[in-house]
């Protein structure tokens, strides 16, 4: 499996807080990698650096051969980012939003139309796409944003809490969709979630981050065996507590 993302000692120092300290991991093509950690652990900072929104204090991340430090423009062409609890433009209709976002990634009308058609199919919102986003429920917005995030067929989709706000059935549907895209289209995913069940089901590998340090990475099975835990939740608890002791 060739590497789609290689994170090399990525560090972010705010004036008095070390938000991410030499974080290193990699994601292969078509791989789903989940970054998990308690609140304030440095997940969002790491994700934002990979998404080119924040400049690393040190280190680098190479996405599809492009450096986030040296070639952020090239990186943005290969990725899409869905922030946690993100909203959309309330006065736009769903379809206009998809068209607007597709227009930022593609230049030809054919490509834009193809992206929109793909998103329409994936989100399952049907005729509601003609309504203003302001009238959508939280779950509908999330589905719209998720379809937006994958409609351009990015090399790497970065999804922060992809299923937050979705009911159980919709969440299952989204997880299936992510797995399918990774398997069939070789799309790589960097996920962040607090839902351990979701992580265990959807991800190929997991990284646990705490206090700005990436403590451990591995497949769910590897981690469970290493920490002699019944599930990923227990692994998470032990790793975080271990870090607090140190």
């Amino acid at each position: 499996m060739s590497e789609m993302l290689e994170v090399k000692e990525l560090t972010k120092q705010y004036s008095k807080v070390l938000a991410a300290d030499k974080v290193s991991f990699s994601i292969g093509e078509g791989e789903i990698f989940a970054l998990i950690g308690p609140n304030g652990a440095g997940k969002t900072t790491t994700i934002r650096m990979i998404s080119t929104l924040l400049t690393p204090t040190a280190g680098d991340a190479i996405i599809n051969g492009h450096s986030v430090v040296k070639e952020p423009d090239k990186v943005r062409e290969c990725i899409t980012y869905l922030p946690d609890e993100a909203g959309a433009y309330k006065n736009m209709t769903g379809i206009k939003y998809l068209r607007f976002m597709a227009g930022l990634f593609k230049t030809s009308i054919e490509d834009i139309n193809a992206c929109v058609e793909r998103a329409k199919e994936m989100c399952g919102l049907g005729d509601r796409l003609e309504d203003k986003i302001g009238s959508y429920s939280r779950g509908m917005i999330r589905k719209l944003l998720l379809s937006r995030a994958v409609m351009t067929r990015p090399k790497l989709a970065i999804l922060d809490e992809p299923t937050s706000g979705l009911d159980v059935l919709n969440a299952i549907e989204i997880r299936k969709m992510i797995k399918e895209l990774a398997a069939k289209e070789k799309m790589s995913f960097l996920l962040s979630s607090h839902n351990m069940l979701e992580i265990e089901f959807v991800s190929d590998r997991v990284g646990i981050i705490s206090g700005g340090h990436l403590m451990v990475t591995g497949t769910g099975a590897e981690l469970k065996e290493r920490y002699n835990a019944a599930n990923l939740e227990e692994v998470f608890e032990r790793v975080v507590k271990e870090n607090e002791v140190h």
Partner: protein, 446 residues
């Protein structure tokens, strides 16, 4: 008890440090404005209490000499000037005075012949502001001459009908107004009544434009930030410069459309009133010239270049608003705070707006003048009066100052948007910072 509990909660939601700070700043600005107005009014008062009668006695007859002596004996300060010709602008400028009453040759002879004598009143207009055009010396001179002529005519005894008319209305005053180096045979009151409503129009539009533009862009940035659509947008393959540029251009265009609609609406509303007021003023204040002709003769009419310059200044005013709004919008951490955030811009617009409506900034005491001129929006409010009254140097200094202010604000706005700060900065007035909270938590754990 439950009601008190609810009331406490509502009050604690409404009263926050940002709101208190806004009130304190407002109070400070209004106090400063009060100071400026007091100084202006004091100056006007001093002018009226320390009147000098400036008179040029071209008749130089026994009657006029005795009249001027009588004025002095009554305790008036009289200053006489030797003048000739009808180049009134030169007369005022050469003698460095703002007003004069000229008693023409044949003044005493007219009285003796039972005719109503003439005097020429010349005053200089330096601004369109009401307080700045108070001319106590001129009106005192004319009323004293009127009184003297009435008394002398009455004292001569054996009055005929014409002399009775002179006692009732003793003088024919020929008004002349000087602006810069030009003069026109018209009273300054008539010009003021003509331009008053026109001059009211621009400040209102500028004020609306400043507030509207700022609020639009600030809300747009604040909403993008709090909804996290900004993160989505900036992680897409589009430059940050394009994102900012599109935002600024859209807000600027909408503001201009709004300004045009306000301008048309306001013009329709006041158009008839302007004509009616200037018509009635024309009939009350007799003159050979119409106000429009006089404005043209005095060089107060704005040329195409002048309108272009006013437009240019308006453009930079909007650009300053937009760049400041970008910064303030980025500081908002809660859309509820957008209203509070607009307060600094609103205050900076209110001060010059109010002052420009009442007084002339150029005639303010030096310290206040510099303070008011330090507010970039002042130059927009005083753009038309400055061009009208030939204060071109002040206009261009203002324009250059606005360009510099815009460049500085834009530099900081771009730096903010191009850096990480756009995602991390926020104004947490009255809120504990995350860092302090973390530190406190760590100390508690120890």
């Amino acid at each position: 008890m439950k009601f008190i509990n609810l009331l406490k909660k509502e009050l604690s939601e409404l009263i926050n440090l940002q709101m208190i700070l806004g009130l304190v700043v407002s109070l400070g600005i209004f106090m400063a404005m009060g100071g400026i107005m007091n100084a202006t009014i004091d100056e006007a008062k001093e002018k009226t209490s320390n009147i000098t009668l400036r008179i040029s006695d071209r008749d130089n007859s026994d009657f006029t000499r005795t009249m001027l002596e009588a004025f002095e004996k009554d305790g008036n300060k009289v200053k006489t000037f030797d003048t000739s010709g009808d180049d009134y602008a030169s007369i005022l400028n050469d003698n460095s005075i703002n007003d004069i009453v000229i008693i023409p040759e044949g003044f005493a002879a007219d009285i003796a012949a039972g005719k109503r004598p003439q005097v020429i009143s010349v005053s200089k207009m330096t601004s369109a502001a009401t307080i700045s055009n108070i001319n106590a010396g001129l009106s005192s001179s004319i009323s004293l001459i009127e009184k003297y002529v009435s008394v002398q005519t009455a004292a001569s005894g054996g009055l005929n009908a014409k002399q009775y008319d002179i006692i009732k209305d003793p003088l024919e005053v020929i008004d002349n107004t000087v602006v810069d180096d030009r003069s026109a045979a018209i009273s300054s009151d008539k010009i003021l009544s003509k331009i008053a409503i026109q001059n009211m129009l621009l400040p209102i539009i500028v004020f609306v434009l400043i507030i509207l533009t700022s609020q639009m862009l600030m809300s747009a940035v604040a909403n993008e930030k709090t909804d996290k659509t900004l993160e989505t947008l900036l992680s897409a393959p589009v430059s940050r410069g394009a994102v900012i540029g599109a935002k600024m251009l859209a807000a600027g265009l909408i503001a201009l459309i709004n300004a045009a609609i306000y301008m048309i609406g306001f013009k329709l509303f006041v158009g008839n009133a302007t004509d009616k007021i200037s018509d009635s003023a024309e009939s009350l204040l007799k003159s050979n010239l119409s106000a429009d002709e006089a404005i043209h003769q005095l060089g107060m009419n704005l040329s195409g270049i002048d309108y272009f310059l006013v437009g240019l200044q308006l453009f930079f005013t909007i650009m300053i608003c937009l760049s400041v709004s970008l910064i303030l919008g980025a500081l908002v951490n809660d859309t509820k705070n957008t209203q509070n955030m607009i307060m600094p811009i609103m205050m900076l617009a209110i001060v010059p707006y109010m002052i420009s409506m009442i007084a002339d900034v150029n005639s303010l005491p030096t310290v206040f003048r510099y303070i008011v001129y330090a507010i970039p929006f002042t130059h927009t409010f005083s753009a038309i009066p400055n061009l009208m009254f030939g204060n071109r140097t002040i206009f261009f200094i203002g324009l250059v100052y606005q360009i510099i202010v815009f460049a500085v604000c834009m530099f900081f706005a771009l730096r903010l948007f191009m850096s990480d700060k756009i995602f991390t900065i926020s104004l947490n007035l009255g809120q504990k910072s995350k860092y302090k909270a973390k530190k406190r938590k760590a100390q508690n754990n120890k």
